[in-house]
Symmetry: C2
Subunit: 114 residues, 2 copies
DNA sequence: CTACAACTTCGAGCGCACTCTAAGTCAAGC
DNA sequence: GCTTGACTTAGAGTGCGCTCGAAGTTGTAG
């Protein structure tokens, strides 16, 4: 898979994918004989997971912490699990806050009449 | 109410409140005899409402559109209601997306075992 | 009278997450 | 053989939403 294919399948741009590699969010890509990046399905899964973290508002610096633990391999599972659990709880709180805001918005909208 | 009081009651800083006024998110404040900004309860309500829009991810440029309609007064209620309704729907979609991501996170966390 | 905190304006600076440009390389199709 | 287009690098630029600093004024407490 070339960078343009990965871009299409993830919704990122090739620019953004190179940026992610540069800052360490993605491991250095394999290269084909002409020096172009060549990706496999495992990379796709990783980028999609990063997408979930991004959707839920995790800052890149935290994704980097997670990526570094992942790169460190065995022995870091506990820390990774704890990180994700903390993040999960924060997201759940945000869902509650958003739901409350929806009520406020609905009330305001209703207040405008027809 | 002085700017420091409004700051304390809204959780914003005085710097941010002046910034909001500068860009047009808040109407030019009344001044006391020494030139200091003096706020009433209505301003507090407005800032709290801006807080709801911010919490739900509305960009400042959209808040500005809303603020301008509000400043224009009567006759813009329909547009304001439509804006809020569109925003409400977008927020509802985000809540759904976040909830789906929570499931993904839970699955991932469970995958790490104990 | 003096010290001090809180206010004022203007404008620069910052952190985040991209986003784009320039200049160059390479493989495939006509 | 030449054009086309996707790739490569390094580094600069962008938009958002603050955030801070400098320099000056004002009201209150001791």
């Amino acid at each position: 898979m070339k960078i343009s294919d990965l871009a299409e399948r993830t919704g990122l741009t090739a620019h953004t994918i190179r940026y992610y590699e540069r800052i360490g969010l993605m491991p250095a890509a394999q290269r084909d004989r002409s020096g172009h990046r060549a990706y496999d399905e495992r990379t796709l899964v990783w980028v999609e997971f990063l997408g979930h973290l991004k959707t839920t508002g995790m800052p890149i610096r935290d994704m980097l912490d997670y990526a570094r633990l992942r790169a460190a391999g065995a022995g870091t599972e506990g820390q990774r699990k704890a990180m994700l659990a903390r993040h999960r709880d924060a997201v759940a709180l945000r869902v509650v806050a958003l739901t409350e805001c929806l009520d406020v918005l609905d009330a305001k909208i209703a207040g405008y009449g027809d």
